[in-house]
């Protein structure tokens, strides 16, 4: 329903643009139809629903929609109904900027939520900042985003990309010398999030004296992985670390399988946290590690309800990390809005920003607080596929299954 309304709005926009360029009576339509009245809160979102990031992008959409549904069931935000205005940026950096510009200046949304993946967050952070809006985002974990120094930006997950593997690193360091992997191969997509996680671990392992025997980087949309796989197989490292999104992880794994390379441990970012991953690879996922900001079993307030609702909607499966991070984004903004008591463009946004800088928010991924650049200060879990199911294996006090030290052959 919100989708239809939004389309109507955009149609006026373009009609306006057409006329505007022909320089015809534009003042009349320049205002757009600011219909976010007193009874609704309109939230503008741009997501990659097609293109490279479409699988995680869809996950984020499900998380946002569930959050809005649950808020509306409880009587809305500040007594106002929440409506999501979601646009598709096709995973393009130029499109995501145009989308937020349109949402903020043309559709005059009251709040915005972030897009998926660091690359798109990086592109959109500036436009949102220049309009002075609060920008809570579910997926911009890479250091470049925080270094840009936007004070309106908050990452709604437990840890930044460089720190995603911290528990795994600690675990490896505590292994007995003879069991510890002594060589590591890295293959990473040239993408800030994917590369950030892989290189975060690489820096730490190299410092600890564990040798890097291969380090391959490939551009997004690479489909032919046999060349990279040949080198990984040749290097034959004990630990294979993939800085991946989704499809590239599947392709890479199939390519190394074809060459019969069997690492003792394998860790990939993002892909193993998606439900599609085990559908695509079947039993071969066993023992694959991944950092995740979310655990369905974690005993945080509201988490149980969130897990239940996802199960209800999607055939009893547990929530994915992207769904959880999107839901968290909603929770963070909700907490700020309810504490400050406003949700509209203008001065209100700065109040929301200030409030978040000073407070801690309880979410499904645990209590979150941020430094001045928007970095969260908790840690990511380490997930492993055990008996075909994604289980939390680190840290041990949150673990739902035991760590498998030697990955079964894939």
């Amino acid at each position: 329903m919100s989708r239809r309304r939004q389309v109507g709005t955009r149609r006026t926009t373009v009609a306006c643009a057409t006329l505007g360029c022909a320089a015809l009576a534009l003042a009349a339509c320049g205002d757009g139809d600011a219909e976010s009245g007193d009874d609704t809160i309109e939230i503008g979102i741009s997501l990659p629903l097609t293109g490279d990031f479409s699988e995680p992008g869809e996950g984020v959409r499900r998380g946002y929609e569930l959050w809005a549904e649950m808020v509306n069931e409880e009587g809305g935000l500040l007594g106002r109904r929440v409506e999501l205005n979601i646009l598709d940026d096709q995973s393009n950096a130029d499109r995501v900027v145009a989308d937020y510009e349109a949402l903020i200046s043309q559709d005059e949304v009251d709040l915005v939520f972030g897009p998926f993946s660091s690359r798109l967050v990086l592109a959109s952070a500036r436009v949102v900042d220049e309009y002075g809006m609060l920008f809570v985002e579910p997926a911009g974990a890479s250091e470049e985003i925080f270094e840009a120094g936007y004070d309106n930006l908050f990452y709604a997950a437990p840890a930044v990309a460089d720190d995603h593997y911290n528990y795994l690193f600690d675990y490896i360091m505590e292994m007995p010398e003879e069991e510890r992997p002594d060589s590591v191969a890295y293959a990473s997509m040239d993408d800030p999030l994917a590369q950030g996680t892989a290189y975060g671990l690489k820096d730490k392992l190299e410092e600890a004296g564990i040798e890097t025997v291969a380090d391959e980087v490939y551009p997004p949309n690479t489909t032919e992985f046999s060349g990279i796989a040949a080198q990984l197989a040749e290097a034959d490292a004990d630990l294979l670390v993939g800085g991946t999104q989704y499809q590239d992880a599947v392709n890479l794994i199939v390519a190394v399988q074809q060459l019969d390379y069997q690492p003792r441990m394998a860790a990939f970012s993002t892909a193993p946290t998606l439900p599609e991953f085990s559908e695509a690879l079947g039993d071969d996922v066993e023992g694959i590690l991944a950092p995740t900001g979310y655990s369905a079993a974690a005993d945080y307030p509201t988490n149980a309800e969130f897990v239940e609702r996802i199960a209800e909607r999607y055939d009893g499966r547990i929530p994915s990390e992207d769904e959880a991070n999107a839901f968290t984004t909603g929770q963070v903004v909700q907490a700020a809005v309810e504490a400050v008591g406003c949700a509209e463009q203008g001065e209100c946004q700065q109040k929301l920003i200030d409030w978040l800088h000073e407070n801690t928010v309880d979410t499904v991924v645990g209590p979150l607080s941020w430094d001045e650049a928007g970095r969260p200060d908790s840690a990511h879990f380490i997930q492993q596929h055990v008996d075909g199911e994604p289980e939390i294996v680190l840290p041990e006090d949150q673990a739902t299954a035991d760590f498998i030290d030697v990955k079964p052959e894939w």
């Binding site: 629903l49 097609t50 293109g51 479409s54 699988e55 096709q90 995973s91 391959e216 980087v217 490939y218 551009p219 949309n221 690479t222 489909t223 032919e224 046999s226 060349g227 990279i228 040949a230 080198q231 197989a233 040749e234 989704y246 499809q247 599947v250 392709n251 199939v254 399988q257 074809q258 060459l259 019969d260 695509a280 071969d284 894939w410």
Partner: protein, 294 residues
């Protein structure tokens, strides 16, 4: 480079080179019969890949069986495209305008694929997707070997048609000298139509072979346009054996360069070869005398 990696790269290069040869064969055939650079060829490859994927996910049968439908369908489509679109262009500006027209066709195909199947990346999953066997210490992926065999069979059939049948003779005559072919009584219009159909039919096979072991998505065709253009220019525009040899050579060089240079830089070999060929020998290295004039 160690011996193992050398052999591995060589095997990979040969297997991929065969696939490239098939994918480029149609492109050089269109040029031969019509002087048309068919930008949409890569889009048709992707379309065939999608049809194979769709066939497999719906029926659960092997994707190769989809060729029974796609090959004849693409042949008819090829004849139709030439008749209904290409022949409408004025002869004087045929080459330039056909580039734009087939470019438009590529956009429409990409858009319709995105419209129908969304932009999500797809991958055919078969029982032999990750299977392999060992030969002299190197691993050979079964699925790549199947794609290679498919390419060899298709190119072999093409060779047979061109060399051993009267249609093939007429086709070769049309490619070599259209006016002369007409003088000896060949209906070049009809022959060119068949040539176009055969070219597109090779796209059906090539696309299916490609999709066996790679992800497909609607905008994938951009990725292939460049390498395929390079192959047909290096091989000499209009020369199918030339394209096949250029594809094999570039495939192997590409596989070897990947080791020291990485995936992206290695890809530039196609364009370096293209520019080099045009600077040194614009008519291509393996036959063809057409490049400079068209």
């Amino acid at each position: 480079m160690s011996g193992g990696l050398f052999l591995q790269s060589l095997i990979l290069g040969v297997l991929l080179g065969g696939l490239y040869a098939l994918m480029a064969a149609g492109l050089t055939l269109y040029f031969g019969v019509m002087r048309v650079v068919m930008i949409a060829h890569a889009a048709f490859l992707v379309l065939a890949g999608y049809l194979a994927w769709f066939f497999t996910t719906r029926t659960g049968l092997d994707p190769i069986l989809s060729l029974a439908v796609t090959v004849p369908a693409f042949f008819v489509l090829g004849v139709g495209i030439r008749r209904l679109l290409i022949t409408r262009l004025k002869p004087a500006t045929m080459t330039m305008m056909s580039v734009l027209l087939t470019f438009a066709l590529a956009l429409v195909i990409e858009g319709l694929l995105g419209f129908t199947f969304t932009g999500v990346q797809r991958r055919i999953r078969t029982g032999y997707s990750s299977a392999n066997f060992e030969i002299f210490g190197a691993q050979v992926a079964v699925v790549k070997l199947i794609a290679f065999v498919l390419a060899v069979v298709a190119l072999g059939s093409l060779w047979f048609v061109l060399k051993k049948t009267s249609l093939g003779q007429a086709l070769r005559a049309t490619i070599q000298h259209r006016e002369a072919a007409e003088l000896v009584g060949i209906d070049t219009d009809k022959v060119a139509g068949y040539g176009f159909g055969i070219g597109l039919a090779t796209a059906a096979v090539g696309g299916t072979a490609l999709a066996l072991d790679a992800t497909i998505y609607p905008s994938l065709h951009w990725h292939w346009i460049g390498p395929m253009m390079a192959i047909i220019v290096v091989g000499g525009l209009g020369s199918i054996p030339g394209a096949a040899m250029a594809a094999m050579a570039l495939g192997i060089i590409h596989a070897f360069l990947q080791v020291p240079l990485g995936a992206t830089w290695a890809q530039t070999v196609f364009y370096v070869a293209l520019f080099g060929t045009l600077m040194v020998r614009p008519q291509g290295f393996f036959g063809g005398r057409l490049a400079q004039r068209f």
